[in-house]
């Protein structure tokens, strides 16, 4: 008898609690969960694998436009060139070459075009020990001064590599020095970093200990 009376009571209590629950869900009494902030898509340049520059080696290999490497389109063959320097011993570049920034080496120690270019044949390079190097073989010239880096580059551990690590399955592609370094200004310039992880909340300015001040 007792159980019979209890059953409808329990059922009604359950029904009422379900109804309350349903009402709260339908009216969103607790509110919806917070919407995620929009995360702007990342600039596609950050996922590009292209090198910083196009090297002479790549231009010749891909049969690109090498007209700017033909010095005697403008220069007169056989005519001796003299460099002009200002009072700080900086080489004065003519207007035709004003795209060049002379910043190779510290303390102006490498401030002479003919340290690398051959003054007798402008279309080739020369090393300090008197070898002549084709412009597309620039790494031989770079290596004549930068020994340890050249050694690492030859071993494949300096500079960029792409393609296949397993050479039996495909070709490994090594970049040459000037694909990344501008020979007149070889140091990497600071660049804008890609966005960091979205913090999903306002960012507190954090002063990291390493900041130089």
């Amino acid at each position: 008898m007792k159980a019979e009376r209890k059953t409808p009571l329990v059922l009604s209590i359950l029904t009422i609690s379900f109804l309350i629950l349903a009402a709260t869900f339908l009216t969103d009494i607790w509110g919806k969960s917070a919407q995620l902030p929009e995360i702007p898509p990342v600039d596609p340049s950050f996922t590009k694998t292209a090198t910083a520059r196009v090297s002479a080696e790549e231009l010749y290999r891909t049969k690109g436009d090498t007209s700017m490497l033909e010095c005697y389109g403008c220069h007169e063959q056989g005519k001796e060139l003299t460099l002009k320097f200002d009072e700080d011993h900086n080489v004065i570049l003519p207007d035709e070459h004003d795209d060049i920034i002379m910043a190779h080496g510290t303390h102006n120690r490498n401030n002479n075009c003919f340290n690398c270019h051959d003054e007798h044949n402008l279309e080739v390079l020369q090393t300090r020990d008197g070898r002549t190097v084709k412009i597309q073989d620039g790494h031989d010239l770079c290596g004549s001064c930068h020994g340890p880096t050249y050694r690492d580059w030859l071993a494949g551990i300096h500079g960029r590599t792409s393609g296949f690590w397993n050479v039996s399955m495909g070709e490994k592609h090594r970049e040459t020095c000037t694909a990344c370094h501008d020979p007149h200004q070889p140091k990497f310039l600071p660049r804008k970093p890609a966005p960091g992880p979205n913090p999903l909340r306002p960012v507190e300015v954090k002063h990291s200990e390493g900041k130089a001040h």
Partner: protein, 328 residues
Amino acid sequence: MSCSSNSPNSGGCGGGGCGSGSGGHEHGMDRRSFLRTSSVAVAGVAALAASLAPLRDLTDVGTAEQFFQKHYKKLTPEDMEKVLARITREVEKQYEVRPHVRDYKAMDGVEFVYALNLTRCIGCRKCVHACVAENNQSRNPEIQYIRVLKMPHGSMDPEKGDHNYTSELVPEKGSFYMPVQCQQCVNPPCVKVCPVKATWQESDGITVIDYDWCIGCRYCEAACPYFARRFNFTKPSIPKDQINPNMSYLGNRPRPQGVVEKCHFCIQRTRAGKYPACMEVCPTGARKFGNILDPDSEVSHILKTKRVFIQLKEEVGTSPRFFYYFDV
């Protein structure tokens, strides 16, 4: 016999009025009580259904085929073909891209090792985003396998690193940058804690995850000392035009909601002989990758000739296959 003697009584009761509960008719029910009970029952069921309304938001339930799929290691080649066909179908339906899904196996005589040159890294975070694009990670909420720590000079303590740096230009003076991703440990704690063996170490050193076997308990995430693992709290959202169709089962196929994922050394590239995406995009050549069992590989050369400073947190005994080194 007793039944027949009772029948006149029960017949009389059927007219109504005995539903008040008295009397010996325990199984009888009159119209009023029937209506009451049934209306309460209908209201109860309706209320229950309405109270389950939040389930409407449940997406990505998965198919029976996926539910009954066996563990990766128990799949026969025929089973695997069916599984890959199912994944192809699902990806095509969802992203309108025909993917090329494969199950790349580890190669013999290969053990992958990563080496990262801390002298060269400039903290540009290109690797982070190349990885996201290659491995079909969720864009919102963001899932990224690589964290680039900006570290003060003079310390190797990752606790001092900041991965939220918002510098205008990098590198900044007085800082160096240390990207951290899955270290592919020789002794991986994440594998030990997995209660269902959904993650394990393969013969080429890559610790992989079977996303269809993972139950999402996140023990591995807690066990990892490198913050390498990420959990899909929601269904990953990837723009259709940004899907990488070159997929592998244990690698970059789109993950379901509620599973853990992490860096797998771009299994779909490296097991096909290629370099990983983070390495190819690095503008400074700070990242090097290869087969440590090949004495002529780049990584062998680095470990032999360079100042290799750490395995990160080497004191915890995980023995990473990811080495940080310096030039000179």
